[in-house]
Structure formats: structure tokens, C-alpha cells
Assembly symmetry: C2
């Protein structure tokens, strides 16, 4: 698909990066960015002087593609207000990191009003907001599309092509399975990084080496956003925490018993899994 008009609504770090990447990749397409707050618009206009911006969703009229940058909890209301400005051919996707609840809320709303498919770009940083957006954020990033069994193949193909054109590797998962896997590969590490920072406290910070630095980096991220993400996927995050607890219990037992072989086995099994990940 080669869009002639793209709208990005509520552009934060991810949505803003989509807009910057689109300006570069589709220089002939019209670009509209919407924010609920007028005061958010000037930095957007500055970064994207050729784009239109506004606080009225009617500006999205005529879009081939609408990217919803809002957090999961705000998507329902946003889409309700967006419906009058969509055409049934408009491809509509989001960038939230929890998919089953979003699917459940948006799919029925958008039925017949737009071609809906959920997206989760696995990109970002410990920063947030439009000011942290980068046009190259999706280069080699993984984007997970979460079609349901009745999502038309053409919708999946168009969304796949869109993210690939921005440089991403695209993979597909059913929304519930997405939430299960992402809880363990993304949300759990975040929760644990915060707990580690609490356990280590401030006093040892001058001693922090690369181990602490890497392991806890994500804990510096935006807490309100992450509280929402963890709560949005809480059933799976809780299940992941339970699995983590079992592992930590095994570690404690090995340490208490002085069981060097058991401890080395636990660490070696983890090392073998982790070494499967290319590029450190």
C-alpha cells in the first residue's frame, strides 16, 4: 500500500516516531497529526513543518491510514470520536503494548467503519513523549501484528507492508498469545528491574558497573505509562511473576545448601537461552 494521507493521533514516543518515519518514507503523502491539547502542537509543527496539525479529529478525514498513538485506556474514547471521520477502507491500527483488551474494545467499534488491526512496535526507550520520537526508531525493530481469525488477509498484508516500509521486522500473534508472551519478554523484565532498584537502594550506586546499569536501565522509564501497561496486562504479568518466584526459590535453595552444581546448572540453562538472542 502506498498511502496518500496518513494521520497519527496522540503522537507520543511511538506515534511521533511513526510520523517522523512516514514523513521520510512517504514524502508525497499528506500527514495529519492530532493532539487533544493545543499546547502539544508547536513542537510537532516544528519537527514536521509540512504536516497539518490540529485538535479536531475531522482533520483525519480522507486518510488511507490512521495510527492511534494513545495509551490503551484512552483508545476506546478516541475511536468513538474518530468514527465519523473514517471511511470503511481506512486502515486503522494502534501502537499499544497490550493487545487482547484493546482488540476486545476496538474491533466491535470499528466494524464496518475502518479496516482495523492491532500493532505493537517493540521499540522505545526509557524516555517518553513526542520530544523523544525518532524517525529511525523502527529500523530493525520488531512489530507484532495481532490479527484475529476474521481479520481480512488484505488488512494483514497492508499493515505488514506499512511497518516493513518503515524498516521493521513484522511478526504475527493472536492478541491473547501476544499478551502472554509479551508479559514475559517485556513487562516482567520491567517490573523486576524496578524491584531490583528498590532492593539495591541508593547507597551502592557509586559502585554500579555495567551489570547493574544494563539490568536496571528500563526502571528509569516513565512510571505512569508503565503502571498502565502492567495493569493492562496484569493477569499475564502476575502469572509471569509467579514463574519468576519459582526460579528465585530454586536459586535460594541452591545458595542455602551451598549447591554449586545446582546453581551452575540454573545459570548455565539461562545462559544457553540468552545466547540464542543474536547481537548480544
Amino acid at each position: 500500500m502506498k498511502p496518500s494521507k496518513i494521520s497519527v493521533l496522540a503522537p507520543g514516543l511511538i506515534g511521533g516516531s511513526v510520523a517522523l518515519a512516514c514523513a521520510r518514507t512517504f514524502p508525497d503523502a499528506a500527514l495529519f497529526l492530532w493532539s487533544r491539547h493545543k499546547e502539544s502542537l508547536p513542537p510537532i509543527q516544528k519537527a514536521l513543518p509540512k504536516a497539518k496539525t490540529g485538535t479536531d479529529l475531522s482533520g483525519a478525514t480522507g486518510s488511507d491510514l490512521v495510527v492511534l498513538g494513545a495509551p490503551a485506556s484512552a483508545l476506546g474514547a478516541l475511536v468513538q470520536n474518530l468514527l465519523p471521520h473514517l471511511s470503511p477502507r481506512t486502515l486503522v491500527t494502534d501502537v499499544a503494548s497490550v493487545k487482547a483488551p484493546v482488540e476486545k474494545e476496538l474491533a466491535p467499534l470499528l466494524q464496518g467503519h475502518g479496516r482495523w488491526i492491532g500493532s505493537h512496535p517493540m521499540a522505545g526507550s526509557e524516555e517518553s513523549g513526542f520530544r523523544a520520537a525518532r524517525g529511525d526508531l523502527f529500523q530493525n525493530a520488531t512489530v507484532i501484528l495481532t490479527p484475529e481469525k476474521n481479520t481480512p488477509a488484505e488488512t494483514v498484508q497492508d499493515a505488514t507492508l506499512f511497518w516493513r516500509t518503515l524498516g521493521a521486522k513484522v511478526t504475527r500473534l493472536e492478541p491473547g498469545e501476544h499478551d502472554r508472551q509479551v508479559a514475559r519478554i517485556s513487562h516482567l523484565p520491567h517490573a523486576v528491574a524496578a524491584a531490583l532498584v528498590h532492593a539495591a537502594g541508593s547507597s551502592g550506586l557509586p559502585l554500579a558497573g555495567p551489570g547493574y546499569r544494563d539490568t536496571t536501565r528500563v526502571a528509569a522509564g516513565p512510571s505512569a505509562l508503565w503502571a498502565e501497561i502492567l495493569l493492562g496486562n496484569r493477569r499475564e504479568v502476575l502469572a509471569g511473576l509467579q514463574e519468576l518466584r519459582t526460579g528465585l526459590q530454586g536459586l535460594e535453595t541452591s545458595l542455602e545448601k551451598g549447591d554449586a552444581a545446582g546453581l551452575a546448572k540454573f545459570l548455565e540453562e539461562a545462559a544457553q537461552i540468552r545466547r540464542k538472542l543474536p547481537g548480544s
Copy 2:
């Protein structure tokens, strides 16, 4: 202190990096590298063509400085065999990451035979062995010296100057306090990274983003070495795991209750601590 002869015994990643850094920083000093295994010597000779190497500790005779690269559990036997080749003026230090047990074992052995002080360079990587050694490993790294109350000031000064000359920032901690803080800032993150990898498993690896990547990086490290480090400091690591468990329990309670404010507070407190660490 400007050493005219430096010996590095059992050079792995850290000891090997000391030797490479010394060859660069003290080009006029004689350098001797000892390994227990003859087959370890050729790569050392190749990397350090001007150094002497050998499997006999008598090669260390006449050193101003001896750096013990062996792991904590091997240091006692190594120093026993080294004693005949030391002079009371020889500065002797190690690079092990657990200090109270090393202090307890080596200080009495070296009393009157050398000027002993423990060192812990907070540097390294997920690699190990001499082949991973780098001459610039200590540039801006933190080295913790662990003098005891009866360590002569001159010994502390000489060791401080040595590590600073290799580019490190030097700080001092009493051995027990070192172990307490390092358990939380280094050993605990390592143990938890391994538990996280176990909890996440292999199936979600294709979805891994920078969060998982950073948080679990150290879990790819050498497992036998880390089993030894964790066991060597097990009392403090267990105490740290207990503190972590309290934090995780709080997280679970917030998630179960759907307590967004409590969760955000927990994450924000962690973020504020983590943001104190300069340079991400």
C-alpha cells in the same frame, strides 16, 4: 609508585586486562605472567610479546607488584605457593569480586611476606578468559579497594595510584561492607537476570526488544564463574534476594488490587533512584 616489575598470576579477563594495560602504561617495567597450565601461555605470549611467561611461580621473584587473577576459591593455595618468591615490600592485590572471605584467608598468610590489599575492579563483560581481555578495560571503571583498619596508609596509597594510572576511579570500602553493597548492586542483578530468562523461556525470544535485551544481558555470562561468585557471597546475596522478594510481593499486591497509584509510586520511586546514575 612506578613499578619496575609487575607479575600477573592466573590472568583471565580481569588479570589479562591488567597485564595489557600495564604493558601500555608502564612500557619500561618487566612483566611476568603465570598460568598453571602450559597450554594457556601461547595466546598470552602472542598478545604480550615482550612479557615473560611461565608455569613456575619463581618467575614472579623481584616484583614490586603482584596481581592475583585467580578466582576467590583458588587464591589461598596460589598465595601459599607464592610466598617464597615475595619480598615484604611487594604490593600484592587480587581482583576477586567477593572480599571478606578473601581478606580473612589472605591477610594472615601474607602478613610479613608482602604488602597485601584487596581490589575489586567493577569491570568485565559477559565474556571470560584471557582472550576477552582488553587493555582499556579499566578506563573509567570503578575499582573498590578493601583495606582493613590495620592496612598501612602507604599500601592503600600505592594501590590507589596503581589503579588510577590504569584509568580507573578508585573507591574504598571495608571488606564486609563491600560484600553487602556488591551483593545488591552486582550479584543480585546477575541472579535475577538468570531467573528472568528462565521465566520468559525461549518461545518469546523473537519478540525480545531492548528491555529484555538489557535486563538479561549478564545472564549470558560464564555460569561456573558466577556460581562461584554468588556462593562466595551467599549470605549477602540471600539477604538481597529476601529484599527483592518483599518488593515483588508489593508489586503483586498492587497488580491484584488494580492499584494504579500504588504501582506508579513503586515504579516512580525506582525511576528516581535509577535516574541518579549518570550516563544512562
